[in-house]
Symmetry: D4
Subunit: 189 residues, 8 copies
């Protein structure tokens, strides 16, 4: 790391006296990652043994209740149209938050829903849009855990992706994605 050539690094060093803490500040300054906000100083009631504040960052997540609400809204939308689907919500870390295996949904729908959600949150775009990117970069779809089929939509906070909702099992990906959007819409009310 060529520290002397990096303005931020020098500033950071002044503040924190070290290389790595420097980056904390830098990253904070570089903008909000995953809609992260700086932890307000007022909350800093550190326990002995805790990590120093400078090494920490915050990230924004859906509550499990919100994730469940979105999943159920997507399922409701599918049931309302007589479609049998599975639904999944995946967070920005790629961890599955909620799954619902619909009554009578095809066995492939469960894992497909998870992968569509994963793909949408990874690239912050509906999977119906991402399918189009394969024209230019066909090997994008070889990334482990992804599935480039319509039916996944991202959920955002301050414009950053914080979760993905995936639906699978309907006769077309467009239908799946309609239901996924219904799930996401439930979180804007």
């Amino acid at each position: 790391m060529k520290l002397t050539a990096s303005p931020f690094a020098r500033t950071a060093r002044a503040v924190t006296g070290g290389l790595l803490a420097a980056a904390v500040v830098t990253l904070g300054g570089a903008g909000a990652a995953s809609a992260a906000v700086a932890a307000p100083a007022a909350h800093a009631t550190a326990t002995p043994g805790d990590v120093a504040h400078k090494y920490l960052t915050e990230s924004t997540h859906l509550t499990i209740r919100a994730a469940a609400k979105a999943a159920e809204a997507a399922m409701d939308a599918a049931v309302a149209e007589g479609q049998r689907v599975s639904v999944a919500v995946v967070d920005r870390n790629g961890n599955t938050l909620v799954t619902l295996r619909g009554d009578g949904a095809g066995p492939q729908s469960y894992e497909s829903a998870i992968r569509k959600a994963y793909t949408a949150v990874s690239f912050n775009a509906p999977t119906s849009v991402l399918v189009g990117r394969l024209q230019q970069q066909p090997t994008l779809k070889d990334i482990p855990g992804t599935l480039f089929l319509a039916g996944g939509v991202p959920v955002t906070a301050k414009g950053s992706p914080i979760a993905g909702i995936g639906v699978a099992g309907a006769p077309s990906g467009d239908l799946d994605e309609k239901f996924a959007r219904a799930g996401a819409a439930a979180l804007r009310r």
Copy 2:
């Protein structure tokens, strides 16, 4: 969910007009998860299409720089004693943040370090302590992803675990854990 029997739920309903949002408030009230803080209203400059604020929660993480600093400190401590180890830092979501495969470390050390870190952050205790719990609950060690061998320590913020540091490859788990503690200590300075 039997809403009528739940005081919090009724309150929540009043506030949010709905089932799931209610829980958001409830959970917020139940205390900070993973050292989470409520996102200050001042930051709420929601983008159209964003999730409503009430569905969100914040969680605290190590920055990647801090995680790397801790990993390197652990590796330094091992090298200083002539030990060949691998080091890993895993976050509270179970995702690996940093790995370092030490020169000449045994091949088993890499995955072992990850699992020790995972175990420490999962149970918020050093793995040397957790080994003792197997006396009472021997099947704890059958939980996927865990390894109940000394060498993993948790990293906390406000008392909650936010990461685990794992070291493996030294002749004894006690040595491994000494190095892991050196890694954690680097984040308290």
Copy 3:
């Protein structure tokens, strides 16, 4: 879930006093999933501790004997033509019911047969037909567990897929599928 906007939900609430039970009724009304039939009340001799009847649904399956019969019929058809194949029957949940690894069949045939059966029951169509769908949606084949090669056929009850039969190992997928159809035909006699 916007309960007030949903007629079914209000009705359901009247019946069950709650959100989720409501959906039970709704789903029942939406038609038979996987050829499901409502459990007749006459059978409802609930054991203390049992789930309330309203939370249950029924689904139709092949008996293991029927599944074995179909698999053997498919194998017979292949052997009659001097072909060496493996055969699998997979249910609508994606679980393998029966496998038969044919004498002298190629090592790839066993897993291929399972995946063809899985694909056919997932999409309720012969895999020879499904191959054609890849023209429009090439990434369908990236769904985990599927194999888009001729040789799998669905088994239906009241028009809904309840199982898939897959055959693999013959020199062509058309042959494989001919044998799979022979397996399915054995269940219509």
Copy 4:
């Protein structure tokens, strides 16, 4: 199969002229598998191409709504006590129906909850009870997919297991199981 000794078999043979169909009847006669009921003749409006009725059996399942209700009730119970857990519901086929990853729950809790649910439905007993069986048969816990830790309970219909509810992440398995029981109780109302 010693056909001559089996009355049912002879009857079946009369009906179906063969080995495997016979068994269909037998199994029906042998009692309800997984709380299965015979499909009432009135529903038998077979589609051309459908499987003959004699090859079919029915099984009882939780609706996805019921499964979600149970999962949420378990989560509510945990939140009410300030515990951070994950919850899973698994059906009798071993397929996961619902998962909820709790806010701030340890990363190990998600898969643990699934495995506890799987274990409870597999053996039709709470996992707290099953732990005791390891005294006699310690290798039971080597069965793939199982986890012998308190926190899983079966859900039954007519005494047969149709699902399992698993909770993980609380400080003790007893607490986990208390919450899982709360989930199951929600389905008896």
Copy 5:
């Protein structure tokens, strides 16, 4: 390989003119592996491009029909006692030949049956006997693919194991093994 110290090697060399072919002869002389017999010269109608005869060995297997017969006999035995089980037959190479997932059998039974069969054929003993060996060698059970629970029996030809039959799902391993033995017995008639 210190050829000069090995009498057989020199002999072999004389016969076959080479190092590796030598071993062929040696192995043949060492007794029948997996009930292997030397390929009779009369059959040696080599195709151009074929491997020279001296590099070949024969091994004995169950036909798929025999394997299916054994599996069905085991299933019959279980059904006759009202037990719900899964059955598997695995060959000496460890490949699964036949599986039958019993109606209403627990989800864990399918993979358990395969592993019991695998274990029995690997060690040429019933798994009920093999459980006893864990007293002396507890880590035997850590060998991948094995399951040391009663319910698996070997099938032999000329005393060598050629297959294993595994049954799982009954309330006790002894019952499982009784059914597995019934399967094996069907191949001695």
Copy 6:
């Protein structure tokens, strides 16, 4: 199954058109599977407890010595041209018999060699030829365990595939396959 009590079985045996015992005979009559030969009666010194002769079939394999010889010949051919490769020999059951990871060979070469060998023995053709088949059936390459890249060749006995040799790591698949052919050639001398 008490065959003598089963009309179909007796018929089947005579005709061979019926189901289980029949097929045993049928398969024998249908020609040699995997270059199988009927076990000569002269060897039939059955042990009490052994499977009856009629349930058995024989298959032809490379001895491990032959497999090692072929692998080394392939490696020699590569080294002679200064190429760094890995080599694998896989039998007709899909089991790996021999692997050699060449000095300095790329890390991808080891698994690639195994898969090429697996593919060649599965389809009884060099993988360079099989690549061409993808023009007509592009999804062939989705069969688990396969790799459609030049470098794998089948080994035959009496025209049937008994093993595959795979080489990977050279700058081109043609080179890899040249070395694999050298390995196969060593078995014809």
Copy 7:
């Protein structure tokens, strides 16, 4: 193997009459694999029980410190441009040496970075270049562990690949690869 060009090979042959010992020396004579150098005789202070010197070869690796330096330089380059990425360094054996999961990087970036690094070191070329090779050989991308997306670069010693650096998570592969090159450049200073 061109034995006659190797003096020791002839000697070896005299001693062992065979193939393998000969090759040991031959390979040494054939040139340095992976930038290997012959171990200087001066270092040969063999311990009793050690392998004889003639069986050994040396290979060149990045130290873990160098690997960490490169990874951090790549991360710095990304952060300097406000990009959120993950970074990995993989050695010539395919083992991961270092990983850094960037703050706010997409969940797919971690494994993608590892696979890009793996691909680059396997084929000793930037993955942006390797993508082009798929035109001629589309199935190259089916090799397990690889990912043919821009963002991976090899690290060489004496022209041989000794490691790969992979970056993933930026909006384009070109950006990813720019950061990977920055990582590699840090090792040339």
Copy 8:
């Protein structure tokens, strides 16, 4: 990393001007990892684009020929006693170098041999000795990839482990280990 407290670090900084390069020197000074030797300057004919010499280390390996020789010697020893086993050689990086699946060896022997070899090289001790360590640390055996059963021995160069030889399939682990030792002994001649 607290550089100011570390004498070596300061020196290193002087030499290399940076954080990470420092450690290179340190590690070099700490002694030879895996029997590594410093690359002699005489060989340093760096290619433009190569890594700077200071970032490199060397490690000692068995040649593939030596590994094959050891594997075959182990196999010879087993065959000489009429035992059917599989053999594996694994290097210090945990990568499998050679495998030999013995004629008629049990299916479990192949993977067992690899794991025994892996365990022996990981801990630099025969697995028969390592079994004893489980008395003190029973969870050692939970480390992924290991198998604590007699039959694995390490291969050393200058006292450091560079490979492991594993044998499995004989009636006892002691026999297996006897054959593994025969393999290792072949490399001392």
